[in-house]
């Protein structure tokens, strides 16, 4: 068994999660029995898994494990048909599509929040006291069971969380008390796990316990994809192999590697609790080795794999630049917008489409302000995070202005759609992915003006464009599923 250890399947996932999902899929298709082990509680997990095409048999969430609800089938639970609704005493009054109130003789005693993206299914039931304070919230899982009950301290902060089995018995209790100057989870208790009580001071201790229980029932190879999980994975007893995967660029300053390794990576690279630490490029692995004690050699394994489209693209009259990925500060989207501005000034038919989720509301507002200032509001489209990649059908070029990349999974995906990439030159991407004149260009002088000039050059030459599109497909072919599996077989010791 291979265990991929992650935090969650989020509604909006970053490259780290995507890399895990791709690996889970490829390994299982290849016949390597693989499961995703997740630490975070999410009552929407089943829905997000389905959205990302992840089979429920391949995932064990820690909370589900203790609640005995792993791989549970979904049942739709309309709030008005719940056995637990005391219809003899209370009226359920629909307020809007999201909220129904519970009323006793006209007084609101509770509120039912409809499960997101459903019509009338129960999501959260909230109860009030005589003064209108929220006393308790009952959280329903997407799969249609009462999953977690939460109470509050007098000041409104969370006091207790009880995670339930389907018969209502308590599987896990979390207490929130004072730690330093904050109220935080301070005790994690399994009151009756296989006939015994277990208490943990942190969620990570509980997670370690969980990983050990899973490994004890079927020993396997553990791959940790997030540094927040390394400690728990490191403490697994009798694992067949322990690997840590670092998805991002490993150096504080990529132009000056002598400034050292990113602090949060140092521990996993040097503590020698893992059999090997892996990077998505061989170059990063080799560079990092220089900074490590003798005998410690990071390895390489691919981040992802792609399936290339059949045909290369031709330059069309209507041209569209695209960017797909997180809209975050380190992605430097401001420069992307400025680059587009220069180009649009020369070709009024040019369009820019960006698809992804914003790292914060503040960043979204900053970008919207910039778009207004640059007067490109009508020609720039921000599209929601979506797993559907039809954006590439009419895309001409992928433009990237980020500061740093582990490899650039989003750019590889673009190439698989025969869309060449023109990017600021960033380590690993410039060396391992984008080859100047073959599948795109790396622009060393990182200014919007110079990047725009390079793009303008490509957009003015149908011959060159077609050559780059062909080259993008060639690159994508090198990152096939087969290549992916072959490379992983080099590091996995079954």
């Amino acid at each position: 068994m291979i265990y991929l250890v992650g935090e969650n399947v989020f509604s909006f996932n970053s490259g780290t999660e995507f890399s895990q999902f791709e690996r889970l899929k490829a390994f299982n298709e290849q016949g390597f029995k693989t499961k995703l082990l997740l630490r975070n509680y999410s009552r929407m997990l089943a829905k997000d898994m389905e959205k990302h095409g992840i089979a429920k048999e391949n995932v064990i969430n820690m909370y589900d494990y203790f609640q005995e609800t792993v791989a549970l089938e979904r049942t739709e639970k309309p709030l008005r048909l719940l056995d637990s609704m005391a219809l003899k005493d209370y009226h359920i009054v629909g307020i809007d599509n999201n909220i129904s109130e519970l009323r006793y003789q006209g007084k609101v005693i509770g509120k039912v929040h409809v499960m997101p993206e459903t019509i009338g299914l129960v999501g959260v039931i909230e109860y009030f006291d005589s003064l209108g304070h929220t006393t308790l919230k009952e959280h329903w899982d997407w799969r249609g069971f009462r999953s977690m009950v939460e109470t509050y301290h007098p000041n409104g902060e969370i006091a207790t969380q009880e995670y339930l089995k389907q018969d209502g018995t308590i599987a896990l209790e979390v207490v929130h008390m004072q730690i330093g100057d904050k109220v935080l989870p301070s005790s994690w208790k399994l009151p009756n796990y296989k006939g015994q009580t277990y208490v943990f001071d942190t969620q990570d201790q509980l997670f370690t316990f969980f990983l050990n229980e899973v490994n004890a029932s079927e020993p396997g190879i553990f791959i940790s994809d997030r540094r927040t999980l390394d400690n728990s994975v490191a403490n697994v007893i009798n694992a067949k192999q322990k690997l840590a995967f670092i998805h991002s660029a490993p150096f504080v300053d990529n132009k000056n590697v002598q400034a050292g390794i990113v602090p949060s990576y140092r521990d996993v690279l040097t503590n020698q609790k893992f059999d090997q630490v892996l990077f998505p490029t061989k170059q990063a692995a080799d560079q990092v080795k220089e900074f490590l004690p003798n005998g410690v050699a990071p390895g390489f394994a691919p981040d992802s794999w792609v399936t290339p489209v059949k045909e290369a693209k031709q330059l069309t009259a209507q041209k569209t630049l695209v960017y797909v990925g997180r809209l975050a500060e380190e992605k430097n989207i401001g420069d992307l917008l400025k680059t587009f501005k220069y180009l649009h000034d020369q070709d009024k038919t040019l369009r820019l489409k960006l698809q992804g989720y914003f790292s914060s509301q503040a960043y979204r507002e900053r970008l919207q302000k910039l778009v207004a200032e640059l007067k490109i509001k009508d020609v720039v489209t921000f599209m929601n995070y979506d797993l559907d990649l039809s954006i590439y059908a009419k895309a001409t070029l992928f433009v990237n202005t980020s500061d740093s990349e582990g490899l650039g999974m989003n750019m590889l995906e673009s190439m698989a759609h025969a869309v060449p990439v023109i990017s600021y030159a960033v380590p690993y991407t410039k060396d391992d992915l984008i080859k100047d004149g073959e599948n795109g260009f790396n622009v060393k002088n990182k200014t919007p003006k110079i990047l725009a000039n390079k793009i303008a050059d490509v957009l003015s030459s149908p011959t060159e464009y077609q050559k780059l599109s062909n080259g993008a497909l060639m690159t994508a072919k090198k990152h096939s599923k087969k290549a992916f599996i072959d490379a992983w077989q080099q590091v996995l010791s079954f």
Binding site: Y104, V183, S186
Partner: protein
């Protein structure tokens, strides 16, 4: 089913609890099912109720009902039975505080385990600490050996919520403490998870109790006898399904029982008597009280007189003790030394008797009321000193062997300001003691029959009381006659007679509900 409603069944019982215990025994004797309904949670409820002779089948606690803990085999939980979820703990005992301290290897406190030093060091509660030295919860253990109530603490060390569990660990009842508009931490609500996980919220315990009474009356055709009116005087008038509701008076309905037509209504009965027509029946322990209630409140509800005291068959069958086998001149009183008992009047009467009958003695049996630093006892002592009767008046304290005392006494003196029934004087006549009492409502002036088994003198007239005692002491034949009558008059409180009174009520209940309530 027939339900008797009270808040609990503690070790320290008042007359109401004593009456209920006797009544349940009576129903058991005649094999008619009944249950004591208990509103309040108490970790020792089953222990104290069982000790009073009420077994689990006759006990229905509201909390037990929802906790599914009506009948749980009792076991003793000791400190070593507890699982704190951590390994390698050290346990040290603090004898003087009746507790153990449980610590981690690093010395951090995990729990304080409090035990009952009189019950084999049985665990009564645990105070639990997280890994950051916060007391986060206190678990209270039912005497039958399971964690029943969990009190969750706030970061500033106050109770933030309470949670009751089933013995198998499901959370079923909660209360919450929140800040009110005056920023005071108050209990602001209850939340119940009933069958099918059905959630009900209540602002108060009263609302919760009302829901519960409706729950046990879902099929209708029950009898509810309200022994403590304030627990459910509103709820019983609002039951959703038919039931036979009984207001059982245990004290005077009038604030001044000597002025039953005009004085304020006893606060405990104000609401229930204002709503008396919403009840099926009113029960008083004496005919006189029944008459007074009818005269003033003119209830539509039926009125029944059912004694709250029962004289056991073995007492009725016991050989009678003749007067010459008793201590000549022995007067006894069995009563708390309290203001409403007015024992200083009895002392005054005895001082007068002594002038004529030098052998007279007075023994006072009962606890002294501690209020106002034993003010009443000090008052009685002062009167004794004033009248110089220290040698013949004795404080005997509480005795559990009152039968033996009564078999040696001649007269039972009673000078109370107010009574609900007075079990003590009933017990006295059943032992052939002659009662001499003020004409006090309610009980003594029914239990004592003037010039038959004793004397009733005007309320407050201790001189008259003394004269009657002198008369009895000087006329041995009369004393013997009254004593013999006392024995026979206690037949009124035999199992059979009291049961007959209950049967009248149950018959009316059956007719009213058109069914058999004893099923």
């Amino acid at each position: 089913m027939i339900y008797f409603i009270n808040f609990g069944m503690p070790d320290h019982k008042s007359g109401i609890e004593h009456a209920e215990v006797k009544r349940i025994k009576l129903f058991e004797h005649y094999q008619v099912p009944c249950r004591l309904v208990v509103r309040d949670w108490n970790k020792n409820l089953h222990e104290t109720a069982n000790a009073a002779g009420i077994d689990d089948k006759h006990l229905l606690g509201m909390f037990d009902f929802f906790q599914e803990a009506q009948e749980v085999p009792a076991k003793t939980i000791k400190v070593n039975d507890l699982d704190f979820g951590l390994r390698n703990l050290t346990i040290t005992e603090e004898n003087e505080k009746s507790r153990y301290l449980v610590k981690r290897q690093n010395g951090k406190l995990v729990a304080r385990v409090n035990y009952d030093k009189n019950a084999d060091k049985r665990v009564v509660s645990t105070e639990l600490f997280d890994g950051y030295n916060n007391l986060y919860r206190v678990d209270l253990y039912d005497s039958r050996g399971f964690c029943s109530l969990r009190q969750w603490y706030t970061p500033d060390n106050k109770i933030g919520s309470e949670e009751w569990l089933t013995p198998d660990g499901r959370s079923v009842i909660r209360t919450f403490y929140k800040f009110d508009i005056h920023n005071k931490l108050t209990k602001t609500g209850w939340l119940l998870r009933d069958k099918n996980h059905e959630v009900h919220t209540f602002d108060t315990l009263d609302q919760f109790f009302e829901y519960f009474l409706n729950r046990i009356n879902e099929q209708g055709k029950n009898v509810f006898v309200l022994d403590r009116s304030l627990l459910a005087d509103g709820a019983l008038t609002r039951l959703k399904r038919p039931a036979y509701t009984v207001l059982h008076l245990h004290n005077s309905q009038a604030g001044d029982s000597q002025d039953p037509m005009h004085s304020i209504v006893n606060n405990n009965y104000e609401y229930s008597l204002a709503n008396i027509d919403s009840y099926s029946a009113v029960v008083s322990a004496t005919k006189r009280q029944t008459d007074d209630v009818i005269a003033r409140f003119k209830p539509v509800a039926k009125s029944f007189t059912i004694p709250v005291g029962i004289v056991p068959d073995e007492t009725l069958r016991a050989p009678q003790v003749k007067e010459d086998a008793r201590t000549f001149g022995k007067v006894v009183a069995v009563a708390r030394i309290a203001h409403e008992k007015r024992l200083d009047d009895l002392v005054r009467a005895i001082a007068l008797v002594k002038e004529e009958v030098s052998e007279v003695t007075l023994d006072l049996y009962g606890y002294a009321d501690p209020s106002n630093n034993y003010q009443e006892k000090r008052k009685v002592v002062e009167t004794i000193n004033e009248l110089g009767v220290n040698d013949i008046v004795k404080f005997k304290g509480y005795t559990s062997n009152i039968g033996e005392v009564l078999d040696k006494a001649q007269i039972f003196g009673l000078t109370s300001r107010m009574e609900g029934f007075n079990l003590a004087i009933m017990e006295a006549i059943s032992h052939g003691v002659v009662g001499v009492t003020y004409d006090v409502n309610y009980g003594p002036n029914d239990i004592v029959q003037d010039e038959h088994n004793g004397y009733i003198v005007d309320y407050g007239d201790y001189q008259a009381l003394a004269q009657k005692m002198i008369k009895l002491f000087k006329d041995k034949k009369l004393m013997q006659e009254f004593s013999t009558n006392a024995y026979s008059s206690s037949e009124r409180y035999s199992n059979e007679n009291v049961w007959h009174a209950w049967q009248e009520l149950l018959k009316d209940a059956n007719e009213t509900l058109k069914g058999d309530v004893t099923k």
